[in-house]
Symmetry: C2
Subunit: 256 residues, 2 copies
């Protein structure tokens, strides 16, 4: 069945590994009969910085409160057009794929600024004006899927369970859990390419082939089993005592 | 003894809690006789997006490789002036304090863009042209201290060891360990204010008083005991078998 996929990417160089992955994604999904929407953040000249320019119709001209102005702009239809367009793309999509290089163990600023600005109050948080009620598996993007495709400069060993950088899945938890699962997206396991800067052409081709294969199944694959806030796993937003008893940390929020 | 402290902050509203903390910081440190340097990212109109504009003298005009161009710009003195100025501030500082609101479990894009752009190849990574040799406790900023002062919108419970967001220290690990300890900074425990948007004035005053007290000791306080790469704790960048034996994850890189 034909689906709509939004591809958000953050690299300005068309021949970069990131962008070559983007091309593979677009081509493969279109060949499958899916509709592809694109957000080429560098190409669009996306404004990274969330600031007063995001609120052309301020509710309070004396003091800038981002939450208050974000809610006001969203609920009164006074957001900037670039933000509205991205929100519409998210709502139209059945899945969102993010392609970016890992910079300092996180998103490039331009992509972080896409999250900061597009994730309005009332949209990605404060959904239905009910504070934190709809969150972590529940929210405006519920039923849709998300997937990170990350180009990592360093070697895979550094990101292993005991590697010096820390495990990639835990480093990306603020994104996968905190930014994607939060407004309801089902998040697929991250697709990482290590040693991305030094990949030989034959190895790159093999990675593209593996990625094309994976793309065939993104609507069937099992997402990361993050625990849902509005389940019995949590009591007042604390993990119930009998779940992962005695354990702490990021990984207890995954039902492995 | 008089020291130099760089204060980097990311909020445009002068009356915000973030900015009131900044004022307390500047005033308290100056009263102690320290020299304070400031980087008011919104006020400076800091360019968040790392792009071709960062490389006025390209080594390769056909293809934009960030690492290659960053190394070339840094080693040949062709960086942009805004980046050079921030690097000089870092080199002049004995400590760096970052004040920012937590947005989607990370830095606002403008601050992430400060890291992305100021952290040149040859400066914050690839130090001395030796790849990953000087890293995690060793590097150009060795001997200096860093401290995050973070305004968190949500309640403290959500960030406890079993809270639904994950523990704050682990969510910030990509910053404290990955961006600060990486180029050699000794990182002090994060100073977090929860429920920052709803803090009553009396509670805010109490927090400022606690912060002023803490600032008296930032040059004596014990840093987070992150394990040093160039110690016997690691073998080829993997934690040695006898350290935190059988454990995995971010927290094993802290010698608690």
């Amino acid at each position: 069945m034909s689906k709509t996929v939004l591809v958000v990417y953050a690299h300005p160089e068309p021949t970069s590994l990131t962008r070559r992955f983007v091309s593979e994604t677009v081509q493969t999904l279109e060949q499958q009969g899916h509709k592809v929407l694109q957000s080429d953040l560098y190409g669009m000249g996306w404004k990274a910085t969330f600031d007063e320019g995001d609120f052309p119709g301020r509710i309070n001209h004396n003091r800038l409160s981002f939450i208050q102005e974000s809610e006001h702009a969203y609920t009164t239809g006074q957001q900037t057009q670039d933000v509205v367009t991205e929100q519409h793309k998210l709502l139209a999509a059945d899945a969102v794929i993010f392609h970016f290089p890992l910079w300092w163990f996180g998103m490039p600023a331009i992509l972080k600024g896409w999250i900061d600005r597009v994730y309005a109050y009332g949209f990605a948080y404060g959904y239905k004006g009910e504070g934190n009620r709809y969150r972590y598996g529940d929210g405006i993007l519920k039923g849709k899927r998300a997937l990170l495709s990350v180009m990592v400069g360093g070697p895979a060993d550094d990101y292993t369970p005991r590697g010096i950088n820390g495990p990639l899945d835990e480093l990306l938890f603020p994104i996968t859990h905190g930014a994607l699962f939060f407004p309801g997206l089902d998040v697929l396991p991250t697709h990482a390419i290590y040693g991305a800067g030094k990949l030989e052409e034959a190895a790159a081709e093999a990675e593209f082939a593996a990625w094309r294969l994976r793309l065939q199944h993104i609507f069937k694959e099992a997402p990361i089993p993050f625990r849902r806030q509005n389940s019995e796993d949590y009591q007042h937003n604390i993990l119930a005592d009998h779940i992962a008893a005695g354990e702490t940390g990021l990984t207890i929020h995954v039902d492995n």
